[in-house]
């Protein structure tokens, strides 16, 4: 019986449903201290002094400031511009920036100590919008506030627009979005070993153990082996635990080093919402030219994202935004310019979709308007212009395989042939609309990224005869452990129960690259399969050479003087060519394709929106575990509906006003519609059994489908997100953004 394409239950499911799974806050080392973070209350200021209340009893409290750093004061990521703690004399660049740390034997004492520290600051002029940043109302970075600029060119847009019968140009805006994983960020840090040769140990809720490893090595100037980072069972990430864990890990380890005791640092919900990264707000000006018959001839796109106070991951988010800005459409003349600009917001960062949802919203609104203008059916217009095998993208990439544009459109149409759910709301004030969105998402790291990463996975023969998968790809809920187990079992020709997947820890597993970019199954899964198949051959060869029964793997393990294992390094498919200078070539090894349809009802009295039907066809190449893939599509879809309709981050002068779950809402089971996920499988030759990435693509398009449906229902241009009732109220009264 095949072990892929079937849905065994998750290997971690029983522990999770019985409460046995241990998350970081469930771990309580003896003598642990509780940490708290002292944060700035101003968006931009010089830090003049850190004052400790002389009347407070500090005898049991450890206090850390930037003065306690022995190495560089930096959170190492891409551009090393973000300090671990703002030093006295340095500049605070956003509200809720970390300035000092405290640890105490009890949580109330730590909280009291936090409140007994005052920051003395001199205010500086701050910037809170993309427009003000571009206008340089204050200079925060370099000469123009631009952290990064990308440009993509194909053909000649001037020529293209000259050939067009229609040109439409509109501005689209999207808001920040909080990941709102239900488990807040948290880590436990400790130091062990003799003075001068200590090892720092960190266990935490995190996506990328080797990112934290890199950051701690840089902070303490330590060699690889003296930093050990372990992932605890992680209660959701969605990108939010990609980069920020390096910050909280720096803080906890600093406290633990000074206190010489283990320190637990777990954020309260309001602190997590206020201080950690969110999806980048964006502004996209999109100009589209097309013929009377609907043929697209030119697109010019100017996308700007609000990076916030530090560069962090904005450069790579912007990269994905521009690389997805032309969509799954054949357009002969394209120019795309992207900028990530500095503001005094807390840094925005990784969130499922990673820049693609912002530009997808813009182009799918444009496509809907263009189709309406030439009087074409939404499906027909898209079909007329979509990529097919052999077409060339805006970056000059020839689509050589696995183009599922027709398949995903047809899958949604086929679902419509069946009866839909009954209306969820009725009444004279109800208006209805239908919208679709059609898009693609590049799987894996951009351009030459996978070549640079050289992700590895190890398979090892355990003493009991089972195979162990060792990789740094974390299971943050998406089902990596189960999926890897199935891939390895299939490759080794043994039952899935004979595979165990090690919890990632940097002293035990190789660097597989980060758990991001829809790459875990497709890229790391690929090497897991190769390693499993090689280990099987090694075990068989060893058994043969030593006259053992190859089926009795425990006996082989016992006989071998050393652990039998094999490590495989990822090699991208041949023929991938990418030029970082001209931003041209093969942007991604392969794309996933998707189409989402939304039927909704809007109450014209209250402007409350009810999603009545949501069909989402997503091409995943091959579903290793269809149930897990279904869960990925449905979960991503609801996050996208939330971004479109209900979720907003309210910034006032750089501070997040809605820091609690009471006012920073995410959809409940009641807002959520019955979700109809359709799995489309057009295989990719270099993925395990044809699998491509699935993690992010469900997030990209549903918001545009919602906006397109709302435009149909209300007859207003729904060009911004979120489309809260108050937004719709303003739009129906004729107000612009």
């Amino acid at each position: 019986m095949p072990q892929v394409g079937v849905s065994p239950p998750r290997v971690d499911g029983l522990d999770k449903v019985t409460g046995a799974a241990r998350y970081v806050d469930d771990i309580q080392p003896p003598g642990v201290l509780f940490g708290r973070t002292v944060r700035s209350q101003v968006p931009h200021a010089r830090l003049d002094a850190i004052e400790l209340d002389p009347d407070f009893d500090w005898s049991q409290v450890t206090v850390v400031t930037a003065e306690d750093l022995t190495g560089p004061n930096v959170i190492a990521l891409i551009t090393d511009d973000q300090p671990a703690l703002v030093p006295v004399g340095g500049n605070i660049r956003h509200v809720d920036e970390a300035v000092a740390l405290v640890a105490a034997p009890t949580k109330p004492m730590a909280e009291a100590a936090r409140k007994a520290i005052t920051l003395v600051t001199t205010p500086l002029e701050a910037v809170f919008s993309i427009e003000d940043s571009i206008a340089k109302s204050a200079l925060l970075h370099g000469e123009d506030n631009v952290f990064k600029r990308f440009e993509i060119k194909k053909g000649d847009v001037a020529l293209g627009f000259a050939e067009a019968d229609h040109i439409i140009e509109h501005t689209y805006r999207t808001g920040a979005q909080e990941q709102m994983y239900i488990e807040p960020q948290g880590v436990i840090a400790s130091w062990a070993g003799e003075a001068g040769a200590e090892t720092v140990k960190l266990i935490g809720s995190l996506q990328c153990p080797y990112y934290v490893h890199k950051a701690l090595k840089a902070l303490y100037e330590l060699p690889d082996e003296r930093v050990i980072v372990t992932q605890a069972v992680t209660g959701g990430g969605f990108g939010g635990k990609e980069e920020y864990p390096s910050m909280i890990s720096a803080h906890a380890t600093l406290l633990a080093r000074k206190a010489q005791k283990p320190v637990k640092l777990v954020y309260e919900r309001d602190e997590d919402v206020a201080a950690t990264t969110k999806r980048h707000p964006s502004r996209t000006i999109h100009k589209l030219g097309f013929k009377k018959d609907g043929t697209l001839v030119a697109a010019e796109v100017d996308v700007v994202i609000d990076a916030g106070a530090y560069a962090t991951l904005s450069e790579v988010v912007l990269s994905r935004a521009v690389l997805h800005a032309a969509g799954p459409y054949k357009i002969p003349h394209v120019r795309i310019v992207g900028r990530a600009v500095a503001t005094n917001h807390p840094p925005h960062g990784a969130f499922r979709g990673f820049g693609a949802p912002q530009t997808t919203f813009a182009y799918e609104r444009q496509i809907a308007k263009a189709a309406a203008l030439v009087g074409q059916d939404a499906f027909a217009f898209r079909r007329h212009n979509m990529y097919r095998l052999g077409d060339v993208t805006a970056t000059g990439q020839t689509l050589r395989e696995s183009v599922a544009t027709e398949e995903v459109l047809a899958a949604v149409e086929a679902t419509l042939a069946k009866p839909g759910p009954r209306p969820r709301v009725e009444g004279p004030s109800i208006k209805r609309g239908r919208g679709i969105a059609f898009y693609n998402h590049g799987a894996g790291f951009t351009g030459s990224g996978e070549e640079r990463l050289k992700g590895q996975a190890t398979l090892a023969l355990l003493p009991d005869g089972r195979f162990e998968v060792r990789s740094s790809s974390t299971d943050i809920g998406q089902g990596a452990q189960t999926t890897f187990g199935q891939i390895a079992a299939m490759a080794a020709g043994i039952p899935t129960e004979q595979i165990v997947v090690a919890q990632p820890s940097t002293d035990l597993v190789p660097d597989s690259g980060p758990t991001v970019a829809s790459r875990t199954c497709m890229v790391v899964g690929h090497v897991v399969g190769q390693a499993a198949s090689q280990l099987k051959e090694r075990v068989e060869a060893y058994a043969k050479a030593n006259d053992l029964d190859p089926q009795d793997r425990a006996a082989v393990a016992a006989h071998s003087p050393e652990e039998l294992q094999t490590t495989v390094t990822y090699r991208p498919p041949p023929g991938i060519v990418w030029d970082d200078q001209t931003y041209s070539g093969d942007a991604y090894p392969v794309f996933g394709w998707a189409c989402c349809l939304v039927d909704l009802a809007v109450d014209t009295d209250t402007l409350e929106v009810t999603v009545e039907r949501c069909v989402h066809a997503v091409d995943v190449g091959k579903a290793i575990n269809p149930r897990i893939v279904q869960g990925q599509i449905e979960g991503g879809t609801l996050q996208a509906l939330g971004w479109a309709l209900w979720e907003s981050v309210l910034y006032k002068e750089g501070r997040v006003l809605n820091q609690r779950m009471t006012n920073s809402i995410i959809p409940t089971a009641i807002e959520a519609p019955e979700l109809e996920a359709v799995l489309v499988e057009v295989p990719y030759s270099h993925g395990p059994h044809g699998a491509k990435g699935v993690g992010e693509i469900p997030m990209d398009g549903p918001a545009a489908a919602v906006a397109n449906a709302l435009e149909q229902a209300l007859g207003v241009a729904t060009d911004e997100l979120p489309l809260l009732p108050e937004t719709l109220d303003r739009l129906t009264r004729g107000g612009a953004a």
Binding site: V17, G19, G635, A669
Partner: protein
């Protein structure tokens, strides 16, 4: 102050502040860490336990007020339902089999809440299941497979009793 709490069928004596949250006493004093904290203000439902069979956010209950009541946490759910201390209820099994758990941090609260629903209403409609779970936030699943799991468990139970 000294508190006597009846948790999962056992009487536990603990020392706690009179205003200590029940959630903290369960997690920190009795080491029942299956009950999770997601928000601390009764919005997310990750801390749901049963008090006399009714689902309650344990982050909102002062521990002192829980004295005299029958408390059931996720660790005692299967035992309370007659499936033994180390077991899982058919509903819990269904949640795993249907893919109703991903990251799992909301899962104990959801399992406890849905079990209470099925005890009250053995055959709830899908709308009713959604209503009952509206106080339990899940960010991973989109709720679809959770609702499927609860509906399937209800159906299986109806089938076995028919």
């Amino acid at each position: 102050m000294k508190l006597e709490l009846k948790v999962n069928g056992e009487t536990r004596s603990v020392e706690a502040s009179p205003i200590a949250r029940l959630l903290d006493v369960l997690r920190e004093e009795i080491s029942l860490t299956g009950t999770k904290e997601g928000c601390g203000e009764g919005e997310c439902g990750a801390c749901t336990i049963l008090i006399d069979g009714k689902p309650v956010n344990s982050c909102l209950v002062p521990a002192a007020q829980a004295q005299g009541a029958e408390l059931t946490t996720i660790e005692g759910l299967a035992d309370r339902c007659g499936y033994g201390r180390q077991g899982a209820t058919p509903l819990q099994t269904a949640i795993v089999e249907w893919g109703g758990t991903q990251c799992g941090i909301c899962t104990p609260g959801i399992a406890v809440c849905a079990q209470a629903l099925l005890a009250e209403e053995p055959a709830p409609s899908r709308e009713r299941i959604r209503e009952a779970l509206a106080g339990n936030l899940c960010r991973c699943t989109g709720y679809q497979l959770i609702v499927d799991a609860v509906a399937a468990a209800a159906e299986a139970s109806a089938g076995s009793q028919a």
